[in-house]
């Protein structure tokens, strides 16, 4: 226990003078609702982009087996010199494209939740110019409140790891005169490959990487 006892006594004395406020329920009732979460997510994702960005933020595919081909058709084949792919060994250097799976999508804010298994795996969404996220429509959640209401259960079920990042658009700063500048220190662009069907990330990764590896 690293809190010194005199500090704890001080806190107890302070708190004992206060009226006790009960914690509101975890379920905060009605939340954001939209008839079509896919359309809402796409609309809000687009709104996170720079006005002059010519690249479409979303690629839609029907089946899991189409994902690799769609990525390759759009952004070229895997090249270990210029790509960071989550699951491949990564070192701390800048890459052109980073490819990661999504852990969830949040419709109301156009947010992608990623769950890198380690700090190094996080480079695939960080030390890159363009972050490409692979997701499926079943991962859509209404809003941030709904995500955090579900997060404890997801963690208990072992679905999520040491850290998650809610990614809403590319890195940016508006520190000067509120003029939006993209990028700041992270990715300059975020794109989502949205699959209608669930997929196995390991299968997608090995297929995509394998397509470019001469046998």
């Amino acid at each position: 226990m690293s809190i010194p006892s005199d500090a704890l006594h001080r806190l107890r004395a302070a708190v004992s003078r206060l009226p006790k406020i009960e914690r509101p329920s975890s379920d905060f009732g009605d939340r954001f609702s939209a008839p079509d979460l896919v359309s809402l997510f796409i609309e809000r994702l687009k709104e996170t982009r720079a006005a002059d960005d010519p690249v479409a933020p979303l690629v839609e595919v029907e089946r899991a087996e189409d994902i690799s081909a769609a990525i390759e058709a759009r952004w070229g084949p895997f090249d270990p010199a210029t790509w960071h792919v989550q699951g491949e060994p990564l070192v701390a250097r800048d890459a052109r494209i980073g490819l990661t799976p999504a852990a969830a999508l949040i419709a109301a804010s156009g947010t992608v939740v990623i769950d890198p298994p380690s700090a190094d795996a996080g480079f695939a969404s960080l030390l890159i110019e363009h972050h490409v996220v692979v997701a499926h429509v079943g991962q859509l959640i209404e809003d941030v409140q709904a995500f955090f209401t579900r997060l404890p259960d997801l963690r208990r079920a072992g679905c999520l790891g040491a850290y998650q990042v809610l990614v809403t658009g590319a890195s940016r700063t508006a520190d000067m005169e509120k003029i939006l500048v993209i990028p700041a220190h992270g990715a300059a662009r975020l794109s989502v490959v949205l699959c209608r069907m669930p997929f196995d990330w390991e299968a997608v990764r090995s297929e995509f990487v394998g397509r470019a590896t001469p046998s």
Partner: protein
């Protein structure tokens, strides 16, 4: 460009009146602040409108924060046990000096020569950069605005927009002077059309990115604050736009997070409400670009829990809710005093309305005794606060306390006593009221009012006071 107070506090009373007068005379300052604040406030209004039950969320957020504060003795223990269980280390700092010592000692033990820092108001509060420099360790600020403040030797002027009071030209000149930029961006020559200003801003940010890349990749320690710390899971939550916090937490082998004890919330599920409110209130975004939720250490993690006067605020039954602030800066954006006087006028690390009530607690009542009077009590800060802190009430409470403690000028007390006496003697009050013609004649030549009346028409005084008119119109 404003020159901020020295980063070291001393005990002399802070002269808000004097400094704010100088700030008011600074050409273009209020213009820059108003433009930036209005941009954020317009976006906040839009985002709040599209978010269902915005005001209900604010009252939920207040209850979530007050629950954590009124059980803080329990949650501090729960958080530190959970964090240690997850593999992190926790130390406690009673004071700013203790916190700096903990960070410096750890840096020395790890052989650290360079520390990269993400934007953290609490590290400004404890003057960590000075402590690191004194120990021969180089602190490198990585948030764009904080980097500018560090290069300029200034304190940040706003909790979420540190260089809100700077123009692009001023930033560019500084970067050229410091060798970060070879020359002034050509787009800034001439009138500076919006597209040109965007291109210039891109050049400056790109230069900062290039300059800091090497620091990110070679620093041996990263220092951050935290927006929230979750008791049940020992998780840290860090919110940002630039990705410098992500780089700071994931690249160096050691991550130190300095966390004010008031940042603790009870449960992960509490974060949904708080994070729905934070980004819109700060910048008008629906969500900031990156919200990192670190449950288990990414590298070696050391959390310094900081008291530094917070337990004293917690013991204040009237004002403990000041600790529920989530540092969005919305109260600064709406405050007419802040938008004219700027953050530097407040003299403390936390400016604006929240600073005006918090700094007398954290930085010394005598030193910051003028701040609670630096408000028009228009109420905008209380209306906008996402966690519903009744800031105007807190300002008034401070005024009462400072008057009771004799911390106001004697002349002010005499004037109010005379006024109170006059108001209790209505017949005298009615008789003491000069004729309207006298008022109209004297006002334009009074020294204090002359400047005001140069460009404005003074409204003609009525021939009778309200009570006389009431009697005339209601003779019964």
């Amino acid at each position: 460009m404003s020159q901020a107070p020295s980063s070291r506090q001393d005990d002399a009373p802070w002269d808000f009146r004097g400094v704010s007068r100088r700030k008011l005379a600074e050409h273009g300052l209020a213009d820059k602040l108003h433009r930036a604040a209005h941009t954020s406030l317009e976006k906040l209004a839009r985002t709040a409108c599209e978010t269902p039950r915005w005001d209900e969320l604010r009252s939920l957020a207040r209850r979530i924060r007050l629950h954590a504060l009124t059980h803080l003795d329990h949650y501090v223990g729960e958080f530190s046990e959970a964090l240690e269980r997850n593999g992190g280390a926790v130390s406690w700092a009673d004071s700013a000096a203790d916190a700096c010592r903990a960070v410096v000692d750890l840096a020395r033990a790890c052989g650290v020569r360079r520390v990269i820092k993400a934007k953290s108001m609490v590290s400004e509060e404890i003057h960590l950069n000075q402590a690191l420099s004194d120990a021969g360790i180089e602190p490198v600020e990585t948030d764009f605005g904080e980097m500018i403040c560090q290069l300029a030797g200034e304190m940040p002027g706003h909790v979420t927009a540190p260089i809100m009071h700077w123009s692009i030209e001023e930033v560019a000149r500084l970067l050229v002077r410091c060798g970060v930029l070879d020359e002034m961006p050509p787009e800034l020559a001439g009138a500076g059309a919006p597209a040109g200003r965007l291109a210039a801003a891109r050049r400056l940010v790109s230069a900062a990115r290039r300059r800091l890349r090497d620091s990110f990749l070679t620093a041996e320690m990263g220092v951050t604050g935290a927006n929230f710390a979750v008791a049940e899971s020992g998780s840290l939550v860090l919110v940002e736009n630039e990705a410098n916090i992500r780089l700071t937490t994931s690249l160096p082998p050691v991550h130190v997070a300095i966390v004010g004890i008031e940042k603790i919330v009870a449960r992960i599920s509490d974060l949904g409400v708080l994070l729905t409110l934070l980004a819109p209130s700060a910048t008008g975004q629906r969500q900031s670009c990156y919200t990192s939720i670190i449950h288990r250490p990414l590298r070696r993690l050391h959390v310094v829990l900081l008291d530094n006067g917070r337990s004293k605020v917690l013991a204040d039954r009237e004002q403990f809710d000041l600790l529920s602030c989530i540092r969005c800066g919305a109260c600064m954006n709406v405050c007419p005093v802040y938008r004219h006087a700027s953050g530097a006028a407040y003299g403390g690390v936390y400016p604006g309305p929240i600073g005006a009530v918090l700094m007398p607690h954290l930085g010394g009542t005598q030193r910051f005794a003028q701040l609670p009077f630096a408000s028009s009590l228009c109420g905008a800060c209380g209306d906008v606060c996402p966690v519903g802190i009744p800031l105007p009430e807190r300002l008034l409470q401070w005024r009462r306390r400072l008057v009771a403690d004799g911390l106001r000028p004697a002349g002010e007390g005499l004037a109010f006593a005379a006024w109170a006496w006059l108001m209790q003697h209505p017949s005298l009050y009615r008789a003491a009221r000069p004729p309207a013609e006298w008022i109209d004649a004297v006002v334009p030549i009074l020294p204090r009012l002359r400047n005001w009346t140069i460009g404005r028409a003074w409204p003609a005084a009525a021939n009778e006071i309200f009570s006389q008119r009431w009697r005339r119109e209601h003779p019964e």
